[in-house]
């Protein structure tokens, strides 16, 4: 048969029509859309049995209870524990992101040994036996050589027992150089013991306060126990309790305060003392308390305050006019149950004591100590461990002075001064450093100096769960499980007025080849033998926890938290019978106690003041920001990898900057490229950047974003306590 053109065409048309009428194209169209609805690369979460497990969050000192929803063995959601007295079901953004830390890409999957140059990121996986042997051999060698004092540790651990165990290890091994990272709690603890006497944790009965004066405390920016503070603020708003916040910048706390006092940076203590001036001058203080339970008011404190802190004079320093100061003082003194509270931002750095003294003096003037709705002294009573029996090597080592200059036995640590000492190499060298749940290479001021100090330490062991900035710069990493995989005790909750003991416990099986620091430390102690092994003879960390929590260990496994809600602070007669409240801190010269700490840098070359601020949307300590938290950061803080610096439009105008302009920020400590963000909510002449950005380590979701403001900050020692006291640094902003 001959197929002509016409025949061919009709065949083609027929075939086309046939196909169109057949189910084929329709089926194909349908299948394609079904395929597009089930793309194999879009994950489908597995179903399974659902249950909820309670624990305690240790990502910050907040001590919130958490309820973790699980599907089979997977943890799928962290929520606030409804029955937990601290957070009552609420939870912060960081706590909510915890599973991104657990399952995240920054986890150190198993023990690692550095093979390349330090900080170059070349690692060799090793077994736990090898890892522990490495450390044990090193520590044995140093101890054999009679230099146990040259081993140091830095701990930011939340666990009370772990920190106690580290102290015990130091005692038995023979080193005075154990450093806990101090926070505002330590500064509060020290100032309270210098004014009240005794040792106690400070608590605030905010829920019953009638007036709250915050001297720079970021009450709604992560201060204390963040979720609890949000709840307290809600109570204040509903009950009409006034919140006054003093800060140069319109932080979230300032924004929610009924009155925002925009003060010149670093002059909060002066403002408090000027208020004291008015209170004393107008005899607004609480006479029954002041007369019977305090001392050094009329003879010491009064003289200083009346002489040097008249509102008119202080107005010049603080930028707050005298009338406002007087009004504030009267309001505060006349309010029912007023509380004055301080600490800069979240209080992750302790700060200078003058502010704590001044704030606490205000509370004493209005007699609101150990009263309902006041400032309380709280203690959690725990069984104590038997004393350590140091051998002769240990005794010799302990005889050395601490590198941070604190007298032993030390109640506080000064890692800032420790770093200065190591960097300068003046005293004796540090041969080994153990870093536990902390990231000092990132979190301490003047990171260049920290790096310099670290470069002089030949053996750095990190116990971090994450490849953080310090872990990346260590020689050996012995990864700790994260808080959702291990057991820890949390004693006390920052700023919470009731004695609290909680147990954070494993929600899921360890996701990586990790071991709890406590267990590893016990294994190392065993390897070291002698008095060290004897002092740390527990079979594992849980046994240790049992030793420190006693009977509670078992009950806490079920209840998660124990709170003494019936707790009443000791009456005045009881606390101030033996030792009266002292308006001038004991052992501190009157003129030194209230002397403000200056700012590094000269105003000529550096006309601006750079301040670091804290925000709930940036985790700025050992825990790096998880992706969700970085996702909710404003684009006025971070834009791509550029950090933004906040300045007042007036400042911008005088320097010729517009929103989004590139700039170089320079301080005596360093410089960095930033973008400019204009905001009316900041004092002209001040520039602000958040803590928590600019990590060199971690993952694609955090590394290299913004700049670490700590790089630009100098370390300033508080003249009274030695605490890190820098509240800012002089800076210069120029076109880039």
């Amino acid at each position: 048969m001959k197929i002509d053109r016409r025949c061919f065409l009709s065949l083609a048309v027929g075939a086309g029509a046939g196909i169109a009428l057949s189910p084929l194209p329709w089926k194909l169209t349908d299948d394609l859309s079904i395929w597009s609805q089930n793309w194999p690369w879009t994950p489908v979460p597995k179903r399974g049995e659902a249950k909820t497990v309670n624990s305690v969050c240790t990502l910050c000192p907040g001590g919130c209870g958490i309820s973790v929803r699980k599907i089979d063995e997977r943890a799928v959601k962290i929520e606030g524990m409804k029955t937990h007295p601290v957070n009552q079901g609420g939870i912060c953004a960081l706590g909510l992101s915890g599973l991104q830390l657990l399952y995240g890409p920054t986890r150190v999957k198993g023990p690692l040994k550095r093979v390349g140059e330090r900080g170059k990121g070349q690692w060799m996986p090793i077994s736990w036996d090898e890892a522990i042997r490495e450390v044990t051999d090193k520590l044995t060698g140093i101890r054999k050589a009679g230099r146990p004092q040259s081993v140091a540790w830095i701990s930011g651990a939340a666990s009370n027992t772990l920190n106690q165990m580290l102290d015990r290890f130091s005692q038995a091994y023979g080193t005075p150089n154990g450093m806990r990272l101090p926070t505002l709690e330590d500064a509060y603890g020290l100032s309270v013991s210098l004014m009240n006497g005794g040792n106690a944790r400070i608590g605030f009965d905010f829920e019953h306060a009638g007036y709250v004066l915050s001297l720079g405390a970021g009450l709604l920016d992560g201060w204390g126990s963040p979720v609890r503070m949000f709840k307290a603020n809600t109570l204040w708003k509903t009950a009409g309790v006034k919140l006054v916040h003093v800060e140069p910048r319109l932080s979230r706390t300032a924004a929610k305060a009924d009155t925002w006092i925009s003060v010149n940076p670093g002059t909060e203590a002066a403002l408090a003392l000027a208020m004291a001036h008015v209170i004393l001058k107008e005899s607004l203080y609480k006479a029954d308390f002041v007369e019977s339970y305090t001392e050094k008011l009329m003879d010491g404190f009064r003289n200083i305050v009346l002489a040097d802190f008249a509102p008119e004079a202080v107005a010049k320093v603080t930028g707050v006019d005298a009338a406002t100061i007087t009004m504030l003082a009267r309001e505060f003194a006349k309010a029912k149950r007023p509380i004055a509270v301080c600490g800069r931002g979240q209080g992750t750095l302790p700060g200078s004591l003058d502010l704590f003294f001044a704030t606490h003096a205000l509370n004493a003037l209005v007699g609101n100590i150990n009263q309902p709705g006041g400032v309380w002294l709280v203690r959690e009573e725990l069984p104590s461990w038997p004393d350590v029996q140091p051998d002769s090597v240990a005794k010799a080592g302990l005889g050395y002075p601490r590198l941070d200059g604190i007298q032993t036995p030390a109640r506080i640590s000064l890692p800032n001064r420790f770093i200065q000492a190591v960097a300068s190499g003046k005293d004796y060298p540090v041969e080994a450093l153990l870093v536990i749940e902390s990231n000092p290479l990132y979190t301490l001021n003047d990171t260049a100096m920290v790096r310099q100090a670290f470069s002089k330490i030949p053996f750095i062991v990190s116990f971090s769960s994450f490849m953080d900035d310090t872990a990346a710069w260590s020689d050996l990493i012995l990864p700790n499980p994260v808080y959702l995989e291990r057991t820890d005790d949390v004693v006390g909750v920052s700023g919470f007025p009731y004695p609290t003991i909680a147990l954070s416990q494993p929600i899921v099986k360890p996701q990586c080849n990790t071991r709890p620091v406590g267990d590893v430390l016990l294994q190392i102690a065993k390897g070291l033998g002698d008095s060290v092994a004897a002092a740390l003879a527990w079979k594992d960390f849980n046994a240790c926890l049992e030793a420190s929590l006693g009977e509670r260990f078992k009950s806490l496994r079920k209840s998660v938290v124990w709170v003494d809600k019936a707790y009443k602070p000791a009456a005045w007669d009881e606390v101030f019978a033996a030792e009266r409240f002292s308006f001038l801190p004991n052992g501190i010269a009157a003129d030194a106690a209230f002397k403000p700490v200056g700012i590094p840098g000269d105003a000529g070359g550096f006309p601006l003041i750079l301040m670091a601020y804290d925000t709930m949307r940036l985790s700025n300590g050992y825990i790096g920001n998880p992706p969700f938290l970085t996702k909710i950061l404003e684009d006025t803080v971070l834009k791509q990898t550029d950090g933004l610096i906040e300045i007042n439009p007036k400042t911008a105008k005088s320097l010729g900057f517009d929103e989004g302009d590139r700039a170089q920020i320079e301080t005596p400590k360093g410089k960095a490229f930033v973008k400019v963000h204009l905001d009316d909510g900041i004092l002209p002449g001040v520039a602000a950047m958040p803590r928590g950005l600019g990590h060199e380590a971690y993952d694609a979701y955090l590394a290299g974003k913004g700049i670490n403001v700590n790089n630009l900050m100098a370390s300033v020692n508080d003249p009274v306590s030695g605490f890190e006291a820098a509240w800012g640094i002089r800076a210069k902003l120029s076109k880039a």
Partner: protein, 259 residues
């Protein structure tokens, strides 16, 4: 105990958000992302391409230092009822991939039905709708935390706040198993409401006089966003500040808000 409102079947779920209490902490945003399998990218600083079903806006009064004031305003989908359920977005979706549920007042979104024309996004004045410009990618291992009650969305479709609809379904299931006729107020609460540390968000049935939102919405300081457009939203806001209430809608220079 006999429930007086048991015959009431038409619910109108909604929120009342107290802006005096909101601190802008962002818990609600993260709670929502964690609950609803919202993906994230290494760079989320382009806020015009960042999926946040709940977004907290920062409003300012526009005054110079130190009279400056700011207010944080959380914005979930407003679940607009419009006129008779003709929400701005629902009425325009050509494929009926988003719908107004007259039984609950919830504006749904069916990801597998949506073909990504984005007309609904153009229609929503609140920018509550987000497009999946990218394939969602969870770093290796992180997909373990995904919630099986909410399906992750594929590239090329629109998503938005669902008032945690899966929680409503779960609550109904529980109520059914327990032999209750109706679900109680506390049985169905959204993830953001629960998480908010300030207790700023209240969620419930706006039609039910027993629910907290019923009374709160009648607060004289309560307002809704862009009421003048006729979107008829189900998210109310409360603020004691005049400038904040005024910022809730557009007014001509000589006009003032009614409250």
């Amino acid at each position: 105990m006999k429930n007086e409102h048991s015959h009431q079947t038409t619910k109108k779920f909604g929120m009342v958000i107290n802006l005096d209490l909101c601190t802008g902490c962002g818990s609600c945003m993260v709670a929502c992302m964690a609950e609803n399998n919202v993906p994230f990218k290494p760079d989320e600083t382009d806020k015009l391409k960042s999926i946040t079903w709940m977004r907290v806006y920062r409003l300012t009064n526009g005054k110079p230092f130190p009279e400056t004031d700011v207010c944080y305003l959380p914005r979930p989908c407003q679940h607009c009822e419009g006129h008779d359920g003709h929400s701005p977005c629902v009425s325009v979706c050509p494929a009926t991939a988003t719908d107004y549920d007259s039984l609950t007042g919830i504006v749904s979104q069916i990801y597998t039905r949506c073909f990504g024309c984005r007309y609904c996004m153009a229609a929503c004045p609140y920018h509550a709708r987000y497009f999946n410009w990218y394939d969602p990618v969870w770093p290796d291992g992180m997909e373990k935390y995904l919630n099986p009650n909410v399906s992750p969305r594929m590239r090329g479709v629109v998503e938005k706040c669902s008032f945690c609809y899966h929680r409503y379904q779960a609550a109904k299931d529980r109520a059914y198993v327990e032999g209750q006729r109706d679900i109680a107020e506390e049985d169905y609460q959204t993830a953001c409401t629960q998480a908010c540390p300030a207790g700023a968000i209240t969620f419930g049935d706006l039609n039910n006089p027993d629910h907290a939102v019923y009374k709160l919405k009648q607060d004289p300081r309560a307002f809704r966003l862009l009421e003048r457009l006729g979107t008829n939203t189900k998210v109310y806001y409360i603020s004691s500040k005049d400038w904040v209430r005024k910022a809730g809608d557009n007014y001509l220079p000589d006009e003032r808000p009614k409250k």
